[in-house]
């Protein structure tokens, strides 16, 4: 598969994020990482996993959380461009949001994650977590294209894929206030210099030269758009920051 042909490229993904002026920073690399890149990243990931105690999820079960972590890790993988959705804690963002703004998607996650694992078992002979990176990608492609074996998903597997992909993007590139984009890794990946209330001509020049240092500030670090306001809004309008 050549670089130009991938259905979802990192470039496509950046376009979907909607952060102006940063898409050009990315190269045409697949969201789904190559096995080589995955293999290179595996030791570091395994080391990190063994070193850090497992964090509790608020809404997902342990099984669901493991599956979701594995999925987001393939959707926006760690690769030569930098950290991916796992480092951004996109799964934690989704977990947290499923108890609030994305609560209406909770059942879709429960049934969809279980169905995806059943499909992996039925088609590849192993649960999703046990598959190689390449086989995980293959499973996800089938889920995305809606070609999984009939009867395994209660609804459309393609819809479930789109749901998870959208939420993974949110959790990777959204404001860190919502629990994802940990340590601003998503914004750094995009080359997004951060939320600013004022941009000077010098800032603009530095941005265009690729030399503007990211400020690593959440929107809610600014007066006038405080966390209390955000919390009220996010709970009042279900799906406002989701779907």
């Amino acid at each position: 598969m050549s670089e130009q042909s991938k259905l979802i490229s990192r470039r496509d993904l950046l376009r979907g994020v909607g952060v102006a002026g940063v898409a050009a920073a990315a190269g045409p690399v697949s969201i789904l990482s190559t096995p080589d890149a995955a293999a290179a990243a595996e030791p570091a990931a395994a080391q990190a996993a063994s070193a850090a105690p497992r964090e509790a999820f608020e809404n997902l079960t342990a099984v669901e959380a493991d599956l979701l972590e594995a999925i987001v890790d393939r959707l926006i993988p760690t690769d030569s461009l930098g950290p991916g959705a796992r480092e951004a804690r996109a799964a934690h963002y989704i977990d947290r949001a499923l108890g609030g703004a994305l609560a209406s998607s909770r059942q879709a996650y429960a049934s969809g994650l279980a169905a995806l694992d059943r499909y992996a078992q039925a088609s590849r002979g192993k649960g999703f977590l046990e598959l190689s990176a390449s086989d995980k990608d293959s499973v996800l492609m089938d889920v995305e294209s809606g070609t999984v074996t009939p009867g395994i998903f209660a609804g459309s597997s393609a819809q479930f894929f789109t749901l998870v992909l959208n939420h993974t993007r949110q959790g990777t590139f959204g404001d860190p206030y919502y629990g994802g984009n940990s340590n601003f890794v998503g914004w750094d990946l995009l080359g997004y210099p951060g939320v600013r209330t004022m941009v000077t001509p010098a800032d603009q020049k530095a941005l265009e030269a690729g030399q503007l240092k990211p400020n690593h500030r959440s929107a809610y670090d600014y007066e006038g758009f405080n966390k209390a306001t955000a919390r009220v809004e996010s709970h009042a309008g279900d799906m406002k920051h989701g779907d």
Partner: protein, 226 residues
């Protein structure tokens, strides 16, 4: 009657034969001479076989999304000596909008290749086997440049044509050009097909069909059941 064309089998097409009634007599206006436009001859028959696919029989699950979705192995013989490159297309004429739905496109296959092995890579980083160096996987109906196997909606068996083409000239491609679709490849091959053969196998699913996904969301265009 004007317009009929006279074709000499195995040779160049002869110019138009005109038959017209004039005053009760029949004037046969035969324009002599050989057409100057080159017309491809009937392609030689390539014999396409597979260690795992059998003509007219059901495709094993391994080569479908009900299994690993690996690409199947293909072999071929009787490739014309004039072949410079080979190409393979897998298409389902029972699906697609318009048909056929395309599952696999491979081109720039060296003319010396005797077939395709099972499970060609699905990622760009994994190299093609040595005897296929230079071969390119084109864009299929799922808009991916890899093989994706049969997944017809339940109801009736679909037919999957694995077509092998021998070309007397390399397929032109530009640096940075996206992998060709079937339509683009057929266009590029026009006038250069010196050999052709196919293996047709079937696949059918049972059970409830998946609900349709919203248009434009993660689905191949013009899928129409595949």
């Amino acid at each position: 009657m004007l317009g009929a064309e006279c074709v000499v089998p195995g040779a160049f097409r002869v110019a138009r034969c005109g038959v017209r009634h004039v005053g009760g007599s029949i004037l046969v206006a035969l324009t002599l001479g050989v057409a100057h436009t080159a017309v491809a001859q009937t392609p030689a028959k390539i014999v396409v076989t597979s260690a795992t696919l059998k003509e007219g029989e059901t495709i094993p699950r391994q080569y479908t999304p009900d299994g690993r979705n690996d690409s199947p192995p293909l072999t071929w013989t009787a490739v014309p000596a004039s072949a410079k490159e080979l190409a393979v297309i897998c298409e389902d004429p029972d699906a697609g909008n318009p048909p056929p739905f395309v599952h696999w496109v491979v081109y720039k296959i060296p003319a010396t290749a005797k077939g395709l092995p099972e499970a060609l890579p699905i990622d760009a980083a994994t190299k093609m086997p040595a005897d296929l160096t230079g071969a390119v996987q084109g864009t299929n109906g799922f808009r991916r440049a890899i093989y994706r196997g049969p997944a017809p909606p339940p109801g009736k068996p679909h037919h999957y044509h694995f077509v092998v083409y021998a070309l007397d000239a390399p397929v032109a491609s530009k640096p940075g050009q996206p992998p060709l679709t079937r339509a683009e490849l057929l266009d590029a091959m026009k006038g250069h097909i010196v050999g052709q053969g196919e293996l047709v196998a079937i696949y059918e699913r049972t059970g409830p069909a998946q609900p349709e996904a919203p248009a434009g969301r993660g689905r191949g265009r013009g899928r129409g059941g595949n």
